[in-house]
Subunit: 136 residues, 2 copies
Amino acid sequence: MRQTVVVFSLLILALLLLFQFSKYSLISGDLQVEYIMAFVALVFLGIGIFINKKTQKQQSASSKTLDFKRIEELGLSKREYEVLKEVASGLSNQEIAKKLFVSESTIKTHVSNLLVKLNAKRRTQAIQISKDLNII
Amino acid sequence: MRQTVVVFSLLILALLLLFQFSKYSLISGDLQVEYIMAFVALVFLGIGIFINKKTQKQQSASSKTLDFKRIEELGLSKREYEVLKEVASGLSNQEIAKKLFVSESTIKTHVSNLLVKLNAKRRTQAIQISKDLNII
DNA sequence: AGCAATTTAGTACTTTAGTATGAGTCCTCT
DNA sequence: AGAGGACTCATACTAAAGTACTAAATTGCT
């Protein structure tokens, strides 16, 4: 909210500067009104899109981009992370094994390791934690 | 993507119309360049915000409000839904039982019924399905 | 080449999860 | 009053999930 006020103040300032710019151009006769107008329109169109993107990003930023840094911090290996995603999609160990062309034992090992690293007791809890940490 | 093209075409059209408008105004001498410029800037600022809001709404509209209608459609009872939420939060049957002051048997019954209604084979799959249906 | 981490896989076992079935209680609607 | 639905609980299973090891093959890196 505070930022919006600041942004709007800056916009009004920009508008005034553009007025000055257009005035001088008209006096000097180098630029036509049409071009100035087009420039102003496009710039403010862009500014409009920009502000809106910023304000909306703050609301949903945490649920959009994956936090790859956190995956490293947790010490999750590539394969473990892969298994985690399959677990989160609701597959059983057997199904994951088939999908990744390995044995069920292997998946169990991965899941077990991954639970320790995520500090979870069950796969359902691991899913919840992973979502909170924005890694899936 | 197609809509973006259409919107941009319309904007260019609007721009040209504004040019015409400004030209005639200048000729007639009724309006000052500054006011026209301010008008154009504000209009395009609004248009920018508007397009952005529309495009972003389509992406995140489905993931905001819970779909209570769907819960009814699925035939989920109040208690089953309650259990579903606890399951999704990563708790075990025993933990849910303690939290809701009932026996583990009861939770098992609820979970079993809830899996049938959600057409899921496992609780993890139920979580995934529920999130897709926007009921949790 | 050689060390360290990763990936794979197995056995053996314990713990949860899930199914099937039956049954009692409570509440609501007709 | 009685039928039906929701909630409760139990028993007896079966099926997954998860743990605790051990160990070999593979890969990345110095």
